[in-house]
């Protein structure tokens, strides 16, 4: 295929790639030189990605100038077709990506074997010079890497890396939708057209919860850690995502004025979701307590097999909690949409999207802030 030296360069680059917990969206978007290993992985997906799948803000504007009665139906059909096409492309992308991951996984396992052999050879030769120590340290740090989704056997959790890729795309699409909602609300489009945007927005959140359900099966700790979100979002992280109350707070200021009936229903929703949130919070605290008790049973004994078995049982409950929390998030969203008019729902979705967008921006700003040299 290629010369041994470029093959090795590629493999080393792949190994480095897997060490970065970087957004796969960034990998796809950055300029990759042909000599880096990441181009092997990215190849198929970049081709699919370059096609314009999503309606950009610019495309929506000209078509809104015609307001004839049969136009909305065409637009609905077109939008539905575009959604289907986007979903199909997403599935193809995911499939190709997972296939690439599988082959990369094998390469990674081979590479780890080589490193292990090199490490053993180094220690056998008794190299105690600077270079030898540096090499040993480097190898130790690499193999002890606690990125979470590859163990010492070098297996990559493809369910999680697939999620990372999909989530990166989800955020991009979310930004586009916020943009569209804002322009739509500032212009005076019909309620029918606004409905399309609201339905798209709600569906988009449904996609997120579906993705998260798959990720929960792949690695529950990954979801719970919040590592997939930005740092400011992570500050507010609750059982694998945002709090339902956070959602309601973001939306509240933007949906006024409400009718008396709506006001009553919104108050009830606030109260019931808060009660459910509190119940789940107490449930997960209980789970923590139980887990700690299981692990800490008989600490004087060096043999902890029994404690591990009990602890594993407890950990299995974690996925249930994250599923329930996501269910609560989704129900809060659906109920709000039910109570509100189309226009109010559009403003609410815009507010919610904008809120999380700002948290993400805050994370970037914080990371990039100028600091005193040490």
């Amino acid at each position: 295929m290629s010369s041994p030296s470029t093959e090795l360069t590629k493999r080393m680059a792949i190994y480095e790639q897997f060490h970065q917990i970087s957004r796969w969206g960034d990998v796809f978007n950055s300029d990759n030189s042909p000599n880096t290993g990441s181009s092997t992985i990215v190849q198929v997906d970049v081709r699919l990605d370059n096609k314009a799948e999503y309606i950009s803000c610019e495309q929506v504007e000209p078509s809104r100038s015609d307001q004839e009665t049969n136009k909305p139906t065409d637009k609905i059909q077109r939008r539905l077709a575009q959604n289907r096409e986007a979903a199909r492309k997403s599935r193809l992308r995911k499939k190709a990506y997972v296939q690439q991951l599988e082959s990369s996984r094998l390469k990674l396992a081979q590479l780890e074997q080589e490193l292990e052999r090199a490490r053993q050879q180094v220690s056998r030769c008794g190299m105690h010079n600077q270079l030898g120590n540096a090499l040993m340290q480097g190898i130790y740090i690499s193999s002890a890497s606690d990125t979470g989704y590859f163990g010492l056997s070098g297996t990559v959790n493809s369910g999680i890396t697939a999620f990372e890729m999909e989530y990166g795309h989800w955020v991009e699409e979310q930004n586009k939708q916020i943009c569209e909602l804002r322009s739509a609300l500032q212009a005076h489009i019909t309620d029918i057209e606004l409905r399309i945007l609201v339905e798209s927005g709600l569906n988009h959140y449904c996609n997120l919860f579906r993705m998260k359900a798959d990720a929960a099966k792949a690695d529950i700790f990954y979801l719970i850690s919040g590592i997939w979100r930005t740092s400011a979002e992570r500050f507010f992280h609750w059982i694998g995502g945002f709090r339902p109350s956070e959602l309601l707070n973001a939306v509240m200021s933007q949906i006024e004025p409400l009718t008396d009936q709506q006001h009553l229903e919104v108050c009830n929703l606030r109260q019931s979701s808060q009660q459910a949130e509190d119940a789940l919070s107490q449930g997960i605290d209980k789970l923590q307590q139980n887990l700690a008790q299981s692990v800490a049973a008989d600490l004087s004994s060096g043999n902890y097999r029994v404690q591990m078995a009990a602890a594993i049982d407890k950990l299995e409950a974690l996925e249930g909690f994250v599923n329930q929390a996501d269910h609560l998030r989704q129900q809060t969203l659906q109920q709000m949409a039910r109570i509100l008019t189309t226009r109010q729902a559009a403003r609410g979705l815009l507010a919610l999207g904008e809120y999380f967008h700002r948290l993400r921006a805050l994370s970037s700003l914080w990371a990039a802030r100028p600091r005193e040299p040490a």
Partner: protein
């Protein structure tokens, strides 16, 4: 199954649970908050617990516990209880059994 249905109809609000189940604990907390005191059957402490678990699974809930019955009718598991509560349908069902 008979035992489950019999116990389910005995009192107004019945919760089948396991003492180790923390989602069950969450549902208990929710009922407390709503001013309701359900009759709780910890099936892991019941000699016929295995059969009860099978019966509850057959009733269609995705997890055998927690399983909530109100007025003898199955409401469902955590999912159903949460959905019902958020849609405003739980409190009316509980009204006859609230303690205040």
């Amino acid at each position: 199954m008979d035992k489950v249905m019999r116990l389910a109809s005995e009192k107004g609000v019945v919760l089948f649970s396991k003492s180790s189940c923390c989602l069950c604990y969450a549902v208990k907390i929710l009922f407390q908050e709503l001013g309701v005191s359900p009759v709780v059957h910890e099936i892991d402490q019941d000699p016929e617990g295995r059969d009860m678990e099978k019966a509850l699974t057959r009733l269609g809930c995705n997890a055998p516990v927690p399983a909530v019955f109100i007025g003898g009718k199955l409401v469902g598991s955590t999912n159903e209880v949460m959905s019902l509560h958020l849609s405003g349908g739980l409190i009316p069902l509980l009204k006859p059994y609230q303690l205040c």
